[in-house]
Every structure is written in structure tokens, then in C-alpha cells.
Symmetry: C2
Subunit: 250 residues, 2 copies
């Protein structure tokens, strides 16, 4: 199933309001981490899988990228991107990441910010990325940490009678596959994968792992969103930078 | 602090009785996993860090290794090894792993089975291993999974009133360092590290990660130790195989 929760109007309006607040996990945890993993962008051709409103595409161009191709499944997102982050070096395509066909294009860098957990077939995704990357090209992505996706039941903070967080509930770690989460609306489908799968699938498809980050919150974030202190207790995100060292066949 | 719980007589007798039972996490989870990660041993010179009673040293020789040097902090363990697994191709040294000095030796393979979580300074250990490995030599190790070591409080299975396991309690993940555990005796000191640290320290010290395993139980183990089904819910161990691709200085 291809997840397109971002074209649900209730979800979309709440999501956009949240992101526009500037006070989010993205602002203080995930985006600083993914930026810290980025290679030098000067003159690079970038593919952004799950580009959303194009904020990261714009970041790449501001930092010297020669071009960015942004892909997103959501018509809402692409429309927003074409309003907010239009630039002659940026092109947007509305398509599920899984279906996008780029026969004559190659890229120096592929990035994906918090979209990989929506993709059912991870190894097929990695193979597709291998095919469009140049030799020594890099793939940088962030995704929900397996800590977050593992347990089939939600509400993973276990609270005491005063509402204090006692610990995080982990379970079902080895049972990979679909999880139905609630995030503004019911039926947000994500796919749980173990850390072994995230890493070994890269390695067996022509990539070398260069760095892994389980980010904590920026200190500015801790002031504006005190709950981000909980990123010390369990990580919400995991990020990987890998480099293509061989072209896979097929 | 260098951990030498294995020379505590109560701990040692209980540990040996457990291992001799043949019905352990080692037999059905960790050892099959580390064996599955081993490269071809034919004519290889092997260093075994935390060799215990020498069972893995013997396994290496049976599988073609030219020589094995086994290191263990525990006098009890080395004495047992010299009774149980003596072979002209195996040499044993009683020393903390941290102190062992091998100025004129090089190895093709370094292995370490469930000893790394006792070592306080992981990056110094990896640097030492880099220095004694030949170019393209491999380092294979198993260690307690961060799921197990993260939380400062113990008894991580949260039970309901019928004693059923509800979930695993995770906490303190980003707070690396010493944990005081109870395992037969109080005061078993282990060191918690994040998965990022386990991996990035290898990469930044001249290694390429080849494979990561979070093992489940063999089916034979599930029959003899039904509780091993819980390895599906959270992993007890993490294993990494990495290859030395550059020599670090110093």
C-alpha cells in the first residue's frame, strides 16, 4: 500500500500548521541532524525523495547544489512546494517514490527526510537509489527509529498515576512490517524494520555505511519544547549516510 | 575499572554450571550468530579477546585456523581453558583485554564473544584492534544489545498481575556509561553504548561495517528454552563484522 496521508485534508492542514509553527521535532532534532550529515553540495545534482513542501530542496540550492529534483506522493505537498520553494534549479514531480521512473537521470546525492518509514519495500527502494546514483554518490536519509515503530500497540510512554513518564515500552522488535499509527488522524501506516535490516540492506546493495546518527535535541529546542529532553531516554529518529561503491545489476 | 567478575568463586561456579548445561542464550542465540558471521578460517591467525574457557579458540582450530591467541582477564577461565581446550595451535594469556600488549604480532581475524560490554573504553579497544589486524583483516564481535544495557534500573520486563510479560522497559538510551547489573552476584559492571557509537567508532578508526546481526533463537533452542521466544520482542545481543581498510596512526 502506498501511503498518502498528506492528501487527507484534516491531516494536511494540521501538519502544515505544525511545521509552520517552527517548533517541532523536525526543527530541533531531525533537520539539524540531517544537515550535519550532508556532504558538500556545491555543483551537486540532488534527488529529494519525499520532498514535501520543498524546504530541503531550497536548502540544497542555497548551499550550492546545481539542481534538485523533488518527488512527493502528495498533490497538496507539491502544490505547496510550488508556492513556497520555487526556483529555476528545482523541479518537482508528484509521484509515489516507489513508482518514480528516472531512466536517463543520475544524481550525486539522494536525500530523504522522514519518508522511508512510509515505504513498504525497503530493499527495492535501495536498489532504485543505487541505480540512479553515480559511483561514490551518497544517500542520506532519516527515518523513524525502530524504537518508535517496533511495538504494535501505541502510546509507548508508560506513565505513573501522576502522569510522569516511567519508561518507554518496547516490544515486537523482530516482527517487521506494517504498523497502523494515529498521528492527527487514524490510519497513518508506517513500516517497522530492525536496525540490522536498515544497515544490511544498504551493504548488500552496493553501499558502504559512512555514519549513523540517533539525534538528541538542540539546546534551543529544549528551551522551546521541554519534552524534547525525552530524546535522551529513547531516540525518535535514526539517520544514515552511505556511499555507493558498486553498481548492482538488474 | 577492569571487570573480573569471573574470578568471583560464586559467580564462576554458577557460570560454568550454566555453560556446561548446554542450554543457554550462548548455545541457541549468540554462538550460532557469531559462527554465521565468521569468515573462512583456513590458515588464519586469530586473536580471541575474552576467550573464556577456550571453546571458541577450539572451534577456530577445528575450522582450519593456523593459530589462535586467547586472552582473558580471569585466572579461573584461563585455567579451565588449559584443561578443556588445549591444542598446540592455541596459546592463552591471562590479562585484561585493555592491557594486553602485542607489539610484534599481527592477526587476520580478531574475534570477541560477549566481552566488549565489560570494556570501559571502546574507542581505545577498536584502535588497539586496528593496530594488530592485517590490512583487510576482520573483526567480529558480539556484545549485549543496547536494549539490555540502556536502562539504569534493572528487571526490564514489565509484568502484569499474572506474571505475564507486557513489554520491555527502555530508558536512558543516550546516557552512555557504567551500569551495575546483578547476574548471579551483585556488582556485575557493564558499559552501555548506543548503536551509533558501536558503529561510528569502527568507521572512524579504519573499519568498514560488513554486517550487523540482532539474532533470534534457533528453533532447537525454542524447544529447550521456551523463554527464548522473547528474543522476538527485544534482542539480547548485537553482533558486528567489520573489515580493516586503513591503518590508523598512533
Amino acid at each position: 500500500m502506498k501511503q498518502n496521508i498528506y492528501d487527507n485534508p484534516i491531516f494536511f492542514s494540521k501538519y502544515i500548521a505544525l511545521r509552520d509553527s517552527g517548533i517541532t521535532y523536525n526543527d530541533f532534532v531531525e533537520q539539524p541532524a540531517i544537515k550535519s550529515l550532508m556532504p558538500d553540495l556545491t555543483d551537486k545534482r540532488v534527488l529529494d525523495l519525499g520532498c514535501g513542501t520543498g524546504h530541503f530542496a531550497a536548502y540544497c540550492v542555497e548551499n550550492g547544489a546545481a539542481s534538485v529534483l523533488g518527488i512527493d506522493i502528495s498533490r497538496n505537498m507539491i502544490e505547496e512546494a510550488k508556492k513556497r520553494n520555487i526556483h529555476q534549479k528545482i523541479e518537482y514531480i508528484c509521484s509515489p517514490i516507489e513508482d518514480v521512473d528516472l531512466p536517463n537521470k543520475t544524481f550525486d546525492i539522494v536525500i530523504s527526510s522522514l519518508a522511508v518509514h512510509y515505504i513498504e519495500n525497503y530493499s527495492k527502494l535501495i536498489q532504485k537509489i543505487n541505480r540512479v546514483l553515480n559511483e561514490n554518490g551518497q544517500f542520506v536519509f532519516s527515518t523513524e527509529h525502530p524504537f518508535i515503530t517496533a511495538r504494535k500497540e501505541m502510546n509507548n510512554w508508560v506513565l505513573n498515576e501522576n502522569g510522569e513518564k516511567l519508561h518507554w515500552a518496547l516490544d515486537n522488535y523482530q516482527e517487521e512490517g506494517r504498523r497502523d499509527h494515529t498521528w492527527y488522524v487514524d490510519g497513518v501506516v508506517v513500516y517497522h524494520r530492525t536496525i540490522s535490516t536498515l544497515i544490511n540492506t544498504l551493504i548488500s546493495n552496493g553501499f558502504v555505511v559512512e555514519r549513523l546518527i540517533e539525534p538528541q535535541a538542540m539546546s534551543e529546542g529544549l528551551e522551546k519544547m521541554p519534552k524534547l529532553i525525552n530524546e535522551k531516554r529513547r531516540s525518535s529518529f535514526i539517520l544514515l549516510r552511505s556511499k555507493k561503491v558498486s553498481t548492482i545489476s538488474g
